[in-house]
Amino acid sequence: MQEIMKKRASELLLDGTVSRVIGWKAGDFVYDITPAVFESAEEIEKDFVYTAFCGANLSKYLVKESKKPGKTLVFLKPCDSYSFAQLVKEHRVNRDSVYAVAVECRGKADVDKIRDCGVKGICGISEENGTLTVDTVYGDKTLPLSEVMLEKCASCKTRKHAVYDELLGEEGEEVADCDRFGKVRELESMTPEERYEFWRGELSRCIRCNACRNVCPACTCEKCVFDNDNSGIAQKAAADSFEENMFHIIRAFHVAGRCTDCGECTRVCPQKIPLHLLNRKFIKDINELYGDYQAGADPDTRPPLTDFRTTDAEPSIVYRRGEK
């Protein structure tokens, strides 16, 4: 796959179809891959990679890159393509200046999960047929990819792209047995007290590094309300547990109906806070109350929070839920 992508990217750069390519660049340890902009076939040849560690969603870089002259090629995994479509829908990315190349994906690995298996001192990792061989300072280890996948890949909803100009590899199918709301349901079935304890435990670890926000393709405000001193709610660090709650509730609310569930927030959190559970709660509620909705799936439908039905449920439905 990597070689096909490199070849195609070089071709398109050379024939002038695109002026730059957003892709993934190799790092020092196999897993530390950095998103990068390539402007020549030589750069592609040298550093471009597409491996089990290319979890990063490249679509948000288009906000900046697509404003540059010429077309920008972007490689999109299925989940990334929804983020891209949503960005186009919200006029954040100019569709005409992007050449979207869909690439197949069978799930990406999470190096933290590899470490959680007790693997230390990772020097190299190779993948073959779903098995990872990890070369460490302290010897070799093999692990099945399926056991160390990123959370977002373990609960992958579809391997089919929302939109693209060109497809490389095989187009996948929707994942029929995906149960991405399982954990949300589990939390819903707890008592409020248990839920409160759960979330305090998670959110109290937050260091307000803003990685979740800054990586989020739905968070593309020119200036976030939490950074804007004039907004009255600016915070730099969570000085009280309230501020931890506030930041995450409002952030989830601001992306509600727009979040494609790409899972980047959870992937990048240095404190491993399962932030996707907040977004998925909104998605689950929206699906149940206002009909199934997938952000980024189509260019025309109104996001649920800028839409309504006269027959919508009353907010009091919240009180009735959970009563069994």
Binding site: E222, K223, C224, N228, V255, P303, T306
Partner: protein
């Protein structure tokens, strides 16, 4: 820092009875920013207002807080007071310590405490108030009426009568609309043409009214008082100014096989035509789909016979741009297509017809010259079945959920007319309910049943099956007798539901006027503002707003006209200054605000901004049209970045109130 004055009103004993007003004035005196605080018996009295005015001048107040009755009562009064003393009227805030304190709390201590807190909240808010100046926008003294049916005609006539110029845009070659196709009208049974055509002529002759027939609105820009509308005049290949309407061409045209749309395809007309004798304007139109000259250049008969030289085969669509102060939508309705109702055999049998087709069949100017004959074999029908609610009050997804309102009455009319003219004809009406609210309506219906012997059967028709002998076997149920009925009918008439004209949806988008799921235009308030769209300057007339009969349409048309006249009578519009405002530096152009704006007040444009290090950035940003925005604030919450804020009720003001209350 603001210099705030606090004025606590006793309201006689209304407030002072349960609130220690002196304590309130004293407590609020020490709030940050407060430089003056006092109380008085009646702040709204002249003496009270003078206290306020004097304090504003003497203490150079920049903000005023009145602790008194509800702002809904006296906000306007105190704003005027402030204004008279040279303070911007929007620097006044009211703490409601009567309706919300003294009148509902008996305990003096609790009441006084709450009054102080409400006063603090008002002080916190006024500290963040900014002077607001209402904008003004000029009013173009001309109205546009879209649609030239009875609704549009009546609205136009009323507006013109008040002395304002008004244009009618009608997409058909003639004005008149659906009513021209009707035979008689309920409940008076007078002839539709007799009451409509004089009004059409009035329109044509009124020098204040311009008629753009065979035209459509193609673009709308601007806002209340200031719309710029592009009207597309479709090519009719006849010079309207030269054509005398003599009709010579329509007799000589060799292309005779054109389905006559005016008669709903029940007979044919020529390729060049005048829809009917009393058409306004009485000008011929060439149907380009059928004209041999236009299709293959072989004919030219009409040009040869036209004494006036009005035929112009080279005519093209032309566009006219006009400015208007107000726009009235009167786009009317159409019966729904009955394709989905196979069970009634509408497609299989020529003798299953819609009610509107029946109107044409019975009309003296119709295809049979007013004699009711079956379309299939031109014989007299002896048994006629009417089926009600075809596509109305449907939950099956095939039809409309609403009641079309007019069908019960026109069916009673049809039944009555038929029984009167052809007493040997049996008439059956299958109905779910007969709905006859309206002056003389129920009496009319009862006459049909009692005097004319029309058979009303409560129940629905399950199937209409054409028989080999040309009869129509109608199978239905009689719910009252609890039995299945089979009627051998000669003619079946379906009361098809009515729906908004297909052009309404695209027009609604152009006007940013909201519509419901059925494509009826939404009124600004269902009870209190029934003829206005929520979008300022857009008014609604006739069925485009909801099903209604002729008298209702005419009265609504008049109401819409009076609203338009009220608007056009003003030279300038004063805008509410408490409107949304977009901070372009924060806006990311996502369009969320635009989607929730009920007034179409938000537009987007690409603007240049200074980027870092002497670069230029082009960004899509929102801007709010102050004249159109009504200040609801829906956009402010839809906006995640806080770029959109509401003047007078800003985020920081509301949060300051929250803080003051919770502290």
């Amino acid at each position: 820092m603001q210099r705030i004055g606090v004025f606590v009103c006793h309201c006689g004993t209304n407030i002072a009875g349960t609130v220690d007003v002196k304590a309130v004035a004293e407590a609020l005196k020490s709030e940050p920013g407060v430089v003056f605080s006092t109380e008085y018996q009646y702040m709204c009295s002249e003496a009270g207002q003078n206290i306020i005015k004097n304090a504003i001048r003497e203490h150079q107040l920049t903000g005023v807080v009145i602790c008194s009755c509800s702002p809904r009562m006296h906000e306007a009064t105190f704003r005027k007071t402030a204004s008279a003393a040279g303070l911007n009227p929007y620097m006044v805030e009211i703490a409601n310590i009567r309706e919300q304190v003294s009148w509902i709390h008996k305990d003096m201590k609790a009441g006084t405490e709450k009054a102080i807190i409400l006063g603090r909240a008002a002080i916190a808010k006024v500290s963040l108030n900014a002077p607001l100046i209402p904008g003004e926008s000029p009013v173009v003294k001309r109205a546009l009426v879209i649609g030239g049916g009875i609704a549009g005609i009546q609205t136009a006539l009323d507006i013109a009568d008040a002395g304002f110029e008004v244009d009618i845009v009608e997409k058909e070659p003639t004005i008149g609309g659906k009513m021209t196709q009707l035979d008689k009208t309920f409940p008076t049974l007078d002839c539709a043409a007799c009451i409509l055509t004089p009004k059409m002529v009035d329109c044509a002759q009124n020098e204040k009214i311009r008629i753009y027939s065979y035209s459509e609105v193609s673009e709308v820009k601007g806002f209340v008082g200031n719309f710029t509308v592009t009207i597309k005049k479709k090519a009719r290949y006849v010079d309207e100014l030269k054509c005398t309407g003599c009709g010579e061409c329509t007799e000589k045209c060799p292309q005779k096989k054109v389905p006559n749309a005016f008669n709903l395809g029940l007979d044919n007309r020529r390729a060049i035509y005048i829809p009917f004798a009393q058409a306004v304007p009485k000008v011929a139109t060439i149907d380009a789909d059928y004209c041999n000259m236009l299709k293959n250049g072989k004919c030219g008969v009409c040009a040869k016979v036209c004494g006036a030289g009005a035929i112009d085969y080279k005519q093209k669509d032309s566009f006219i741009e006009e400015r208007y102060g107000a726009i009235v939508v009167a786009t009317g309705f159409n019966p729904i297509k009955l394709d989905a109702y196979e069970e009634y055999g509408y497609k299989q049998s020529k003798d299953v017809i819609t009610s509107l087709e029946l109107e044409r069949l019975m009309n003296a100017a119709g295809p049979n010259g007013g004699t009711l004959l079956r379309p299939s074999d031109k014989t007299h029908p002896h048994t006629i079945v009417f089926v009600q609610c075809v596509g109305s009050r449907c939950d099956d997804g095939k039809g409309k959920s609403y009641c079309s309102k007019i069908c019960c009455m026109y069916t009673a009319k049809h039944a009555m007319l038929i029984r009167e003219k052809y007493p040997d004809t049996e008439v059956y009406v299958f109905y779910i309910d007969v709905r006859t609210p309206g002056k003389n309506f129920d009496e009319f219906y009862r006459r049909a049943v009692e005097e004319y012997g029309v058979h009303y059967i409560k129940g629905m028709v399950g199937k209409v099956a054409p028989q080999p002998d040309g009869k129509l076997l109608v199978q239905g149920s009689d719910l009252l007798a609890d039995e299945q009925l089979r009627v051998e009918a000669d003619l079946v008439v379906l009361a098809a539901a009515i729906e908004p004209d297909k052009t309404a949806r695209s027009l609604g988008t152009m006007l940013t006027a909201s519509m419901d799921t059925n494509d009826f235009f939404t009124e600004a308030h269902p009870k209190l503002r029934p003829v206005e769209s929520p979008t300022a300057g857009i008014f609604l007339s006739g069925v485009c707003q909801g099903p209604k009969d002729i008298p209702e349409t005419v009265s609504q048309a008049g109401a819409a006209a009076s609203k338009v006249i009220g608007l056009l009578a003003k030279d300038k519009l004063t805008c509410n200054p408490c409107v949304a405002h977009s901070d372009e530096m924060l806006c990311n152009g996502c369009s969320a605000c635009e989607k929730v704006c009920p007034y179409g007040a938000i537009t987007y444009s690409d603007k240049e901004f200074r980027g870092p290090n002497r670069t230029t950035l082009i960004r899509r940003v929102a801007s709010v049209n102050d004249a159109v925005c009504q200040g609801c604030g829906a956009c402010t919450v839809a906006c995640p970045s806080g770029a959109m804020d509401l003047k007078g009720f800003s985020n920081s003001q509301i949060m300051a109130e929250v803080d003051a209350i919770c502290k």
